[in-house]
């Protein structure tokens, strides 16, 4: 019995160690994992915006997250288009062609103008210089349908390190954040007025300042006046 107990204890010791070893092996490309879920009203409101749309098309500007594709596609019945803008930025950094980003964004997206119901912009604008951010924002405004909405996240604090964030949708009102290494760090924080100017064709419908000093903003494209 005593032997059995000691064996159990031994497995108890070995068990967690194996898990942590496996985790460290898997996470060599990930600098930091935040698996704490964060409540989000902004995502809820974003989803509410899509309710009137038939088989809505969502453009996700982050890296592909399998569970997000399942959430939007399988559970909500959306079409989802993944366009990893962080990968675009890194490619331009590698090639030493960051100054070409504004021109690149102008012709980057394949969906027809006015065909997208919702855009998950996440925090990608934080990583761009002003001309590139403006070019991207202009392209996104063009893609949105009248009545369509855009969710943008903006850091209001300096964040050191060259990391991007994956936003993992847990459910309609919860997100998890997961950082991974990139080739560019966040640029100077955008002020509220700057953000509104970037999306001058859209209307701000909601703005939430989180304890983490992340600002979540929801924009809507107004319907054209009759």
């Amino acid at each position: 019995m005593a032997d059995a107990r000691s064996l159990t204890d031994l497995f108890g010791i070995l068990g967690p160690r194996r898990v942590s070893e496996a985790a460290s092996a898997v996470d060599t490309s990930v600098t930091h994992v935040t698996e704490v879920p964060y409540p989000t009203q902004a995502l809820q409101k974003f989803l509410r915006c899509l309710h009137g749309a038939e088989n809505p098309l969502i453009l996700d500007l982050g890296p592909v997250v399998g569970s997000n594709v399942t959430f939007f596609g399988e559970q909500l019945g959306c079409r989802i288009r993944v366009e990893d803008v962080a990968a675009d930025i890194d490619r331009h950094v590698k090639g030493g062609k960051l100054e070409l980003l504004p021109e690149y964004f102008a012709g980057r997206f394949t969906p027809a103008p006015g065909s997208v119901d919702g855009i998950l912009c996440w925090d990608i604008l934080d990583y761009l210089d002003r001309p590139a951010a403006q070019a991207l924002a202009t392209a996104l405004c063009r893609l949105l349908k009248p009545g369509g909405c855009l969710l943008g996240l903006f850091s209001t604090a300096e964040t050191p390190g060259q990391v991007y964030t994956k936003y993992v949708v847990v459910d309609e009102s919860t997100l998890r954040y997961r950082t991974y290494p990139g080739l560019r760090q966040r640029q100077r924080s955008l002020l509220n007025g700057d953000i509104i100017k970037l999306f001058k064709d859209l209307r701000v419908t909601d703005s939430f300042l989180m304890k983490s000093r992340l600002r979540k903003m929801l924009f809507r494209k107004p319907a054209p006046r009759a």
Binding site: S29, L47, E54, P56, V69, G73, L76, E83, E172
Partner: protein
């Protein structure tokens, strides 16, 4: 059935048995009632039609599956996916659009998978499309 990594096929590939591809294919792959597995060495530049597609290698082109598309770790798809179920692993590459509705609409009589308790409900207008 396996197609080894030294094999290069240009044109249309069709069949009625499950297939694992490790080689290169350019053109079109049609395995409507079977499972297509693109092995880690497989490189496909083709329109793909199958019952289920498992991707461990690379696909450039649109993928249509009547049951499921599964992009595993290090698998890569550059193209649009049309399938009622799509699984994308952490570490996989994907660029394109996913449409789980149109694929469902092709199988009339097959009800849409209901959301599990605690999961989000489908958007009401989207349900009309599958109806």
């Amino acid at each position: 059935m396996n197609i080894g990594k030294s094999v290069i096929i240009k044109g249309e590939l069709s069949g009625s048995e499950d297939l694992t591809l490790e080689g290169h294919v350019e053109g079109r792959i049609d395995l409507k009632d079977n499972v297509l597995t693109i092995g880690p060495n497989g490189k496909i530049k083709a329109e793909v039609f199958a019952k289920a597609v498992v991707v461990l290698g690379e696909i450039t082109g649109n993928v249509t599956a009547s049951e499921k598309v599964d992009i595993r770790d290090n698998g890569s798809v550059d193209g649009d996916i049309c399938s009622p179920r799509v699984a994308i692993a952490e570490g996989a590459h994907f660029r394109g659009a996913v449409d789980m509705q149109r694929a469902g609409a092709k199988a009339p009589g097959k009800p849409a998978t209901p959301a599990a308790p605690g999961q989000a409900q489908p958007l009401p207008q989207a349900q009309k499309v599958g109806a």
